[in-house]
């Protein structure tokens, strides 16, 4: 298949739904061989959708908090596609959109966020490095405005998303000499949680859109995923350590 990711093996964590699914679909459409990593069967649906679209994909059951699971997912890429070119760590805690007061945060919620976002990033990075190094590949991580400017509603989500920026910037410096790039994308996208919230409160869509210069909340597949594909492709070969904010202009870098 032709495309900017033709012949590249791409692993996407949390690819069973939402933004991760959209990224996986876009990578498939760009010609990539996609390894859909998801702890649930929805990963199989993502994989089937890519294949139905003429792309190449397979689902591997993968909980990123497990080093063994991540190891197996990378092995699948190596066995089926000869290596791994792009590791995309998108998975987040299922409790990501649960509002919290910092003074009341319990370790249970805290550990849930930390284990998927941060322990998961650690597993993905160290497992993928040998392959990424061999193929001059790259790693991508998803961050959030909650990490860059703090969050009134989602403080723990903000902590782990910010930590991923410290992680990626440092890793970009560490891996740069080995020819491996590390970048982040900060999306503003309609998530399943947001779609539900808008169904309950239709005026919410307008209130959100008013804060976005481009006047709308992004669509994961058409607005967010193409930016991820760009960073994964050779067109971005001189870009590393960066956070690409893909949010219609809501947050502007200083």
């Amino acid at each position: 298949m032709s495309g900017t990711l033709a012949g590249r093996a791409v692993l996407v964590t949390g690819a069973g739904a939402g933004v991760g699914r959209a990224i996986a679909l876009a990578c498939g459409r760009a010609g990539g061989d996609v390894v859909v990593a998801s702890p649930r069967e929805n990963g199989a649906e993502t994989s089937e959708a890519i294949v139905a679209d003429g792309g190449s994909a397979s689902w591997i059951r993968c909980d990123v908090t497990s080093q063994a699971d991540v190891g197996r997912a990378v092995e699948v890429a190596v066995e089926r596609h000869g290596g791994l070119d792009v590791m995309i760590h998108n998975a987040t805690s299922r409790r990501s959109s649960e509002p919290a007061r910092l003074e009341d945060v319990e370790l249970d919620l805290w550990r849930d966020h930390v284990s998927v976002s941060l322990t998961g990033a650690y597993h993905c990075a160290r497992t993928a490095l040998p392959s990424l190094r061999e193929r001059g590949g790259s790693m991508l991580l998803m961050t959030s405005p909650a990490g860059m400017e703090g969050s009134l509603m989602l403080p723990v989500y903000g902590v782990v998303k910010a930590a991923l920026r410290g992680f990626a910037k440092s890793l970009a410096r560490e891996w740069g000499p080995e020819g491996v790039r590390v970048n982040l994308v900060s999306p503003l996208a309609q998530t399943p949680a947001m779609v539900n919230a808008i169904r309950e409160d239709p005026a919410l869509a307008d209130r959100l859109a008013r804060r976005v210069p481009l006047g709308r909340v992004g669509d994961a597949e058409h607005d967010i995923a193409p930016a991820v594909v760009f960073l994964a492709s050779d067109a971005a070969r001189y870009i590393t350590g960066q956070t690409l904010v893909v949010d219609g202009g809501r947050f502007m870098n200083l």
């Binding site: 080093q67 650690y122 403080p155 410290g166 440092s170 890793l171 560490e174």
Partner: protein, 206 residues
């Protein structure tokens, strides 16, 4: 009410985590020089989180970092900051200032310090969210960012990506950190959720 000539922190009660040794001790002394009394229990006006497990500054390639070291250098550092914030929320009793010491490696990124730099960026976001949530409680939350070498002089240089320090004199930087905290603690201040870099001009925010 302190007189105009009184030291900036006269009559203020400060709790400093990590004051038993190293940077925390130096910082506590610096705050005392500015008039603060170092306290071990409420009531408090000021809480400074300067505690750090020096093992977190052990330099190592991430791919060679064992799971328990990742935990100690990243996740445990973050969790200690959460616990400090939660204790401070209670101890400040609805008014006061919480300051996190967050070395500049978080902002710049640093090779072979991936776990710790990740934790530092997480702590800066923790401070911002706490500032948003606790502002109406009268609690302000800020970060002060010195060079990481100040926390563990043995951690060695940051690497070829960071220029030589413009200001090499560690005691001067320590005093500057204390002075910045004193300014942040000014009564009536509206400064909250921010990071002030105190490093002699190496790292400059855009």
């Amino acid at each position: 009410m302190p007189s105009r000539d009184a030291p900036l922190l006269a009559g203020r009660s400060a709790f400093v985590t990590g004051r038993e040794s190293g940077f925390g001790r130096e910082l506590a002394l610096g705050l005392e020089d500015l008039g603060a009394s170092i306290a071990t229990e409420p009531p408090l006006d000021l809480v400074v989180h300067a505690d750090l497990d020096e093992a977190a500054l052990q330099r190592q390639a991430l791919a060679e970092t064992a799971a328990e070291d990742w935990d100690r250098r990243c996740e445990a550092v973050l969790q200690a900051a959460l616990q400090c914030a939660q204790s401070a929320f209670t101890a400040l009793r609805g008014r006061g200032l919480l300051v996190f010491v967050t070395p500049t490696v978080g902002i710049t990124g640093a090779p072979e310090l991936v776990p710790y730099a990740a934790a530092v960026e997480g702590i800066r976001a923790l401070a911002k969210s706490a500032a948003r949530q606790w502002g109406h409680h009268g609690i302000r939350v800020n970060c002060v960012a010195p060079p990481v070498e100040l926390l563990a002089p043995d951690a060695g240089r940051l690497g070829p990506d960071v220029a030589d320090r413009a200001l090499a004199d560690a005691p001067t930087v320590r005093d500057s950190v204390a002075s910045v905290i004193a300014l942040l603690a000014a009564p009536g201040s509206v400064v909250t959720g921010t990071t002030i870099v105190v490093d002699g001009g190496v790292v400059m925010a855009p």
